[in-house]
């Protein structure tokens, strides 16, 4: 009797375990499929949306009345220099894909006034207007070579020295921004120009 019981229970266990295994495998397969289809679908959607937004050069202005009447995602702080205006527009609109979704600050010497102690409060207050009114969540700060706000390239001894001081100032600006507005993500860029035959090559390096 005992042996029979053992046998039965063992068989039951076997069947049970087989069923369980199959069930678990099925579950895995189904969840895997659903996740994969989800990911693929979202990717396709993203690609479609991106290509559409990149293709259309015009902004849907009626969306400002319906979808997002009072907010945008990014605030761009740039230098006012005319040599970099077109390149930075290209960078922001096409490379970063932020068309129609950013507040555009242009101040001579971009962050110079923020680092100055006497005008720091005033400048941070003006940035605060954008944060307060448009609920900005991300900041892109763009500095460049030979900036007039600093007195041009001739103030610095060499190119490396200039690069180092500019990156140091940018990092300082980031810490100041983070201190005043905690929730912001800060991206820093440093731009340089080089002539290459007839073309001009603008190089924007992200400072980490």
């Amino acid at each position: 009797m005992a042996a029979l019981r053992m046998d039965r229970s063992w068989r039951m266990k076997q069947i049970f375990s087989k069923n369980l295994l199959i069930k678990i495998a099925l579950l895995f397969v189904v969840t895997g499929f659903s996740i994969a289809s989800n990911i693929l679908a979202s990717d396709e959607m993203d690609e479609q949306a991106k290509s559409e937004t990149r293709r259309s050069s015009k902004i849907n202005y009626s969306s400002f009345f319906k979808e997002k009447p009072k907010w945008c995602s990014t605030m761009v702080i740039n230098c006012s220099d005319f040599r970099f205006s077109e390149a930075t527009q290209e960078l922001i609109n096409n490379t970063l894909g932020l068309k129609g979704d950013y507040d555009y600050f242009a101040v001579p010497g971009s962050i110079r006034n923020m680092l100055d102690k006497s005008t720091r409060k005033l400048v941070l207050d003006t940035f605060g207007i954008s944060v307060r009114l448009h609920n900005v969540k991300r900041v892109v700060i763009i500095a460049h070579q030979d900036c007039v706000g600093y007195g041009g390239s001739k103030v610095f001894n060499s190119e490396i020295n200039e690069y180092e001081t500019m990156t140091k100032d940018l990092k300082k600006a980031r810490s100041l921004m983070k201190f005043r507005f905690r929730h912001l993500q800060v991206y820093l860029f440093y731009g340089t120009v080089k002539n290459n035959g007839n073309n001009r090559v603008y190089r924007f390096e992200q400072v980490l």
């Binding site: 902004i59 202005y61 009626s62 400002f64 009345f65 945008c72 995602s73 605030m75 740039n78 006012s80 220099d81 005319f82 040599r83 205006s85 077109e86 390149a87 527009q89 290209e90 960078l91 609109n93 490379t95 970063l96 894909g97 068309k99 129609g100 979704d101 950013y102 507040d103 555009y104 600050f105 242009a106 101040v107 001579p108 006034n113 005008t119 005033l122 003006t126 207007i129 954008s130 009114l133 448009h134 969540k137 991300r138 892109v140 007039v148 706000g149 929730h183 993500q185 991206y187 290459n196 007839n198 073309n199 001009r200 090559v201 603008y202 190089r203 924007f204 390096e205 992200q206 980490l208």
Partner: protein, 183 residues
């Protein structure tokens, strides 16, 4: 002893979770599509100039930022030939005595370095620095007030630098696009 140990362990775990929670990136914003640290842009400037003589004053507003760029580049034909100052509430800062000093300092800096002769000032309706459209009461009052402020800004600039030529524009957002109007 055992209870104390448990309490200590719990507190340590709580501390760690607090740190992790603080370090977690909670924002729902997508990352910027940056594949490289360095992004290169090549341009072929047709009419290259070493100097520029135009200064554009505008507001930061995101609804007008791209329209401003298009207007300046194509309608006014100033591509790659203008200095751009954009501050919240463009002329409000020039008229307001609190920030006037800083802005005029900037303008003197630019006039001295870049030899500017021509200034374009662009103001827009429903500006956040003035408190939006609702602060004025009616549409007509808004138009009048903004154009009066524009003229005041022109007077301030011309008083400081008599050689400057100043153009004034007022823009308005409509569902089909941005409409520019010369004052």
């Amino acid at each position: 002893m055992g209870k104390k140990l448990i309490a200590v362990c719990l507190s340590v775990v709580l501390l760690f979770t607090a740190f992790l929670g603080c370090a977690r990136n909670k924002s729902s914003l997508p990352e910027l599509p940056l594949h490289d640290r360095v992004s290169e842009i090549t341009l072929n400037p047709v009419d290259e100039r070493a100097d520029c003589d135009t200064l554009v004053f505008s507001c930061i507003d995101y609804r007008f930022a791209f329209a401003n760029q298009e207007f300046i580049n194509e309608t006014l034909g100033l591509k790659n030939n203008y200095n751009h100052i954009s501050v919240p509430g463009s002329i409000y800062n020039l008229v307001n005595p609190k920030t006037q000093e800083l802005i005029i300092g900037k303008v003197t800096n630019l006039v001295n370095f870049h030899l500017i002769k021509h200034v374009v000032i662009i103001a827009h309706k429903d500006c956040g620095a003035y408190g939006g459209s609702s602060a004025f009461g009616s549409k007509f009052a808004e138009q009048e007030y903004l154009s009066a402020d524009l003229r005041k800004a022109r007077d301030i600039l011309i008083e400081k630098y008599p050689i400057l030529k100043v153009d004034l524009y007022l823009e308005e957002l409509t569902p089909s696009g941005v409409v520019f109007e010369k004052v």
